[in-house]
């Protein structure tokens, strides 16, 4: 309850606004509200997802022009045009998203600049949209006979829409899909290996941001009751991004702060500067530009984290509720062949990293892959798990060829892995990091998440993550930031994350590196237990005591090729292996 107090006070103050404030401030708050809706979308897209768009104003324009045109030309009900506007925006956003989101980071923002300009000129030059003068006579909104024809009455609609967007976004971020979204920035490759379709996730947040913008445009059109191209140009699109960045691009509430600060500042500067400079013009952009540069140089997280410190709201450490365990996959019979690699070859340009590699892993055994540094072990791992596919050769998993599949499809078939260089989301909690591993064991999508209708499934996912963390011995760190753990424990966290996916084959890349003696023993104990449950484990490790005490079979690699294979004691005596590790005796 105490956590909610500032929120309740905020909403109460908001509700009182139009009753006590003079007209000017109500209008100002209306604009702040409408801008904030767009900025919330940008927080999701840019701050959380790491995708930058300068073209949101064009989506606002789509929403505004859709209703403006249909209500004036065909007298369609404004409530219907809201849906039509959203549909039009969705189609445009999907097309643009498919075009630009698959490309590396900077093409999207450049693309958004181009379409921001294109749509602006299109609005201004299409006869039926009234050209640069725009459309007038857009009807007043009516809500069950209540006419929203004043700024005061419209105020509630705007702020309801905004609060709806804020809560939906917050709910979404705190969910299975939300973890996937938060993994986009800095963890795309890992998320793919955990089964997240990152391309789809990017398109989803792009779509959501565009739809928010469209709603804002619809509100704008019915508040102003006329539209022209000016508020949908590129410069306004840039301003929306400013709002998100200045407010604190990674915080949903920051969008409101940013929109408020920029809108008020703009108002104030527009009054002040022409007097100072003795001529009229958009001089406030000079200050906005410099302000933004300073924010990025000095406080890249924006104003919100700084404000949040003033209001002492502690993010309460939530307990993880007990929930029914998730259904488990049927384990293959012990001794069945899980993985079969045949003549695998991996080339990077002229460099052959793996050549003619063959190995098998059976259910219920630990197969160790050893070899000197640079032998190509991690490359082999990436080939098997689909992170970096083989150049040629066959890889079969559970009898099915997988060498051309994406890593997320391989994960879905029951292969879990860890990374040699840990790939965690350092600012997310340990629990949430592990829950990403269980991504494929949930199925509820974005809409239930935004409405928090998937709490039962979410509870089961988190309970599973907690179980796996307790199993690997990190039960005390559930709510710590993952980045705060020592490196050895981060590796263990990766094992818990892989286990959360309920795999039947586990690929572990140097799990014991950075662990102390007792921790190593505990890890070996865990792996033995997994083996006895019928899991197959493929292990890359440099600690020979650890490997030889644990492995059932060993494959030795050097220079990308297999040089020996057999039982641990056989391999240890193999002269070829001794030469590879210790140098030849001539």
């Amino acid at each position: 309850m105490m956590q909610r107090l500032p929120l309740i006070v905020f909403i109460a103050v908001l509700a009182l606004g139009p009753v006590v404030l003079p007209e000017f401030y109500v209008t100002l708050l209306n604009y702040i509200g409408m801008y904030s809706i767009v900025a919330v979308g940008l927080v999701l897209l840019t701050g959380v997802g790491g995708l930058t768009s300068f073209g949101q104003a064009a989506f606002v324009g789509l929403g505004a022009y859709a209703t403006g045109y249909l209500t004036t030309a065909f007298a369609v009900s404004p409530w219907l045009t809201l849906l039509i506007g959203l549909a039009v925006t969705a189609v445009v956003a999907l097309i643009l998203g498919f075009l630009t989101l698959r490309l590396s980071g900077h093409y999207l923002p450049l693309g958004t600049i181009a379409w921001g300009i294109s749509l602006y000129f299109l609005f201004g030059n299409l006869e039926f949209l009234g050209g640069h003068t725009g459309l007038t006579g857009i009807p007043v909104l009516e809500f069950f006979g209540l006419k929203l024809d004043t700024g005061r009455s419209f105020y509630y609609l705007i702020w309801l829409a905004l609060l709806g967007a804020v809560f939906a976004t917050q709910n979404l971020l705190d969910s299975r899909e939300g973890r996937a979204i938060r993994a986009l920035k800095g963890g795309g490759l890992m998320a793919e290996a955990m089964g997240v379709d990152t391309a789809r996730t990017k398109i989803v947040i792009f779509l959501i941001a565009a739809l928010y913008a469209s709603v804002s445009g619809w509100l704008y059109a019915h508040l102003q009751r006329f539209v022209n191209p000016t508020p949908f140009g590129l410069h306004i699109g840039i301003e929306y991004l400013f709002m998100a960045v200045v407010g604190g691009a990674a915080h949903v509430w920051g969008a409101l702060v940013g929109a408020g600060v920029i809108t008020v500042l703009k108002q104030w500067l527009q009054d002040l500067l022409p007097k100072v400079f003795g001529q009229s013009g958009n001089f406030e952009v000079i200050f906005f530009g410099i302000l933004l540069i300073l924010v990025l140089q000095r406080a890249r997280d924006g104003l919100w984290p700084w404000l949040a410190r003033l209001v002492p709201v502690k993010a309460g450490q939530r307990a993880v509720a007990d929930a029914a365990p998730l259904p488990r996959r049927e384990m293959p019979v012990v001794g069945a062949v899980l993985l079969e690699v045949k003549n695998a070859r991996k080339q990077f340009g002229g460099l052959v990293a793996n050549n003619d590699m063959n190995l098998t892993v059976k259910a219920g055994e630990v197969m160790a892959l050893i070899g000197p540094n640079g032998a190509g072990k991690s490359t082999m791992f990436n080939c098997i798990s689909g992170v970096d596919p083989v150049t040629s050769g066959e890889i079969a998993f559970l009898g099915e060829r997988i060498e051309t599949l994406a890593s997320r499809d391989i994960a879905r078939r029951g292969m879990g892995r860890t990374f040699q260089h840990v790939r965690l989301l350092p600012t997310m909690s340990v629990l949430e990091n592990v829950a990403i591993g269980a991504h494929l064991r949930g199925g509820k999508g974005v809409l239930p998440a935004a409405l928090h209708l998937e709490r039962a499934e979410e509870a089961r996912l988190l309970a599973e993550a907690k179980r796996q963390l307790e199993r690997v011995g990190l039960g005390e760190h559930l709510f710590d930031e993952a980045g705060s753990l020592p490196l050895g424990q981060q590796r263990i966290l990766e094992i818990a994350r892989a286990l959360a996916a309920d795999p039947c084959l586990l690929l572990l890349d140097e799990p014991a590196a950075g662990l102390r003696y007792l921790e190593k023993q505990a890890l070996a104990e865990l792996l033995r237990k997994l083996r006895s449950e019928g899991m197959g484990i493929l292990l890359v490790e440099h600690d020979m005591d650890f490997v030889m005490g644990l492995a059932d079979r060993v494959v030795v690699m050097e220079f990308g090729e297999k040089i020996s294979e057999g039982l641990p004691e056989e391999v240890q005596k193999d002269p070829v292996v001794l030469e590879a590790y210790l140098g030849g005796v001539e």
Partner: protein, 345 residues
Amino acid sequence: MDLQIALLLSQDGIVNGSIYALLALALVLVFAVTRVIFIPQGEFVAYGALTLAAFQAGKTPGTLWLLLGAGVLVALIDTVIAVRAGAPGRLKRIALWDLALPAVVAGLVLGLQPATLPLAAQVALALAVVVPLGPMLYRLAYQPLAEASVLVLLIVSVAVHLALVGLGLLFFGAEGSRTTPFSEAQFNLGTLTVNGQTLWVLGASCVLIVALALFFGRTLYGKALRATAINRVGARLMGISTSMAGKLSFTLAAGIGALSGILIAPITTIYYDTGFLVGLKGFVAAIIAGLASYPLAAAGAILVGLLESFSSFWASAFKEVIVFTLIIPVLLWRSLTSHHVEEEE
């Protein structure tokens, strides 16, 4: 459309295209060396043209005060850093480049009455005012963020663009300007009339492109820039200062931008915000080249120029829409041909 109109449009397209080509080269250069997507490139076009126009109109351009102000600011920041680092040796360079150079330029501009000078001297003065702004801009806006992601640098670029456009309006006002052509000559090639200025633009573009090729191929600094573009860390280990490389590439970009503006100012009216669209068209060309290849960028620029001039004939109202929509099939093509799993740089 008959042949004559087609030839005329092609001529227009190629002239504009060669300007876009220059800008595209500068954009590719800046991106390769510093990872900055240099949106403010266009402002240098406008500043160059309008500074020259101000000289010709007998006014003192506001860019001069910007140069002095930016110089003082850079000098202050660098002096504080130098003193804190206990490196007074740097002070001499600071005084020379950030204070003395702008002061000398200001002295020349205020003392010489540029309106009375020959055109070549006016051009040289305009360049002397605008070009040093490039490295100062890098120092003030980008260098503190040199290790940030491409996206952060891009947002900074947009912020710098806005600030410079606002300053442009303050310095030059909302009215557009034209400058005196470099040459009034006209040549008749069959039915086609070619203006002297057109030849100037084409010639200067070619000379600049060749000069850049020589600079990158033959000089130590050019090679240092190429090394930085290929591998920043490696270049640094070899003793190439990344901030030097940044400033040098911004100097080149500012120079190319200002010169482009000076070249087209006699042909088209330049407003304080014209540069943005001109620069963006250079961008479309650079994107065609994937922000990587110089020859492809130049070819893309000619394509953009031709597309622009022909669409202004057939559907002049939709000229900008058509040019900027060109980016979409290009992006489609690039997205279909590139297959990489994305990871943060």
